[in-house]
Subunit: 267 residues, 2 copies
């Protein structure tokens, strides 16, 4: 049973003027978009509208404060000057390949920064291991560009990543346990998800414990189950790592069960 | 004018559909605070209410992202461990007093951090001056505690300041041109402004080019002009630096003129 709620406005006789009874018949004008609307499309009262505006102002001020803090804490200068004698660096990183290609130029950095950003560098540099004594950290299986972008991120918390670079840095951030960067790479890769790369992304996410990316890829895949078995990557995965395929079917089934349960509860 | 608000609840036997003409007679219930209101107190339409909610969610997400960035960029670890051999520091700061008191313990730090936070340290350390060669920076006229808080702020962009410490750090941040800290100190001092400290704060702000604090103190003072001349600090300032008192009167006059102009335009 629905109920209508009808209100009757009565003016005091003593009133001077202004709000007559005709107020109630007036369609309202939204303070925000200035359009007229009817009671059934009503949102907030004036007081809540004003409060919401204040909240928004406060949030924006907080954002400005935080942006200023980020800009204060970034070590841009150091990156720009890294490599010249005035940057006080005490370690270099070198991208090394096993294939014996010519060594890439060393990338200078500060032990204090590496140590504060990565527990792996911390263990390496604080425990007087080879890298700490020599002041040289060799990073294998990574390109010079990827390593430079990685180091730059450690100083600035910023990077502009294409899909390939996001994959490379996700691998590095997993290896060196730089959680903040890993999460950023995952978010970049989630925005690049399509049906065409969903299976590869899913397998990649699995391999590198990238939960955000895994969930997004799985959701993309389970929404296209009819096309799944026709894909080439599907066949490859069945051969190479069938457990991953099993997990897809499990996720699909659990989604179906949940949907059915949801349907029941709202009907 | 007072209005009586009488509500009648009617059950509706027939229709399930909402928007009949009778809608217009219905008092609305605010989606946000759940209170009933009348058309003259209407705020937004439903669509704008929902949009505002989304905006708020987005702003909150942005705040979370920025907080994570700040926490990534802070160099807490370094501060905690500064002083032990594993923190890779390459410079110490010493609070020195001209009065020949016993020297305070040195505070270890990183040239790279000092240089990136302060143009004064940058010039000092990059130009092979005495401080750079010796690895020791003497800071005069400052307590050990203030210097330690100052250095800590350079690493973390955070400090918990009482009024005295905010004054001390404002002076240091002015001297070493650490704008972010100076602005923070000013904001702390603005929150501590009262009529009792307004004149001292005003003179202090003047001395250290603290515009935010100056404006706030001036506004406090010009709102209490009747009591101004009776204050002890007033007499002292008239003796010591009468220009400051002149500026107060000028600000008061300009405020009066503006108020009058505002009054005229709205009358």
């Amino acid at each position: 049973m629905r109920r209508h709620h009808r209100c009757v406005i009565e003016s005091d006789d003593t009133s001077e003027s202004g709000g007559s009874d005709s107020d109630i018949d007036t369609a309202m004008r939204c303070i925000s978009c200035r359009e007229e609307y009817l009671p059934r499309d009503a949102g907030t009262c004036k007081e809540c509208y004003e409060e919401a505006g204040e909240t928004e102002e406060e949030l924006k001020r907080e954002i400005e404060d935080l942006k200023a803090k980020v800009s204060f804490l970034r070590l841009d200068h150091v990156v720009v000057h890294a490599g010249n004698s005035r940057s006080f660096t005490d370690v270099v990183l070198i991208a090394s390949h096993d294939d014996g290609a010519a060594a890439a130029p060393p990338i200078p950095a500060h032990k204090s920064v590496l140590v504060s950003r990565s527990p792996v560098f911390k263990a390496m540099l604080e425990n007087e291991m080879e890298e700490s004594r020599s002041g040289t950290i060799k990073i294998s299986d990574v390109s010079y560009d990827a390593l430079r972008t990685f180091v730059c991120y450690l100083y600035t918390a910023e990077a502009c990543l294409d899909e390939q670079m996001a994959c490379d840095l996700l691998v590095m951030s997993e290896k060196y346990q730089v959680k903040h960067l890993k999460s950023y790479c995952e978010r970049v890769l989630v925005t690049k998800l399509t049906w065409d790369n969903a299976l590869m992304s899913y397998a990649f996410a699995h391999q590198h414990n990238a939960k955000q990316l895994l969930d997004a890829a799985l959701s993309q895949i389970t929404g296209n189950m009819d096309k799944l078995a026709k894909r080439e990557e599907y066949m490859e995965l069945v051969e190479k790592d069938p457990r991953l395929i099993v997990e897809i079917y499990e996720a699909y089934l659990s989604k179906q069960v949940n949907t059915a349960a949801g349907g029941t509860s709202t009907s």
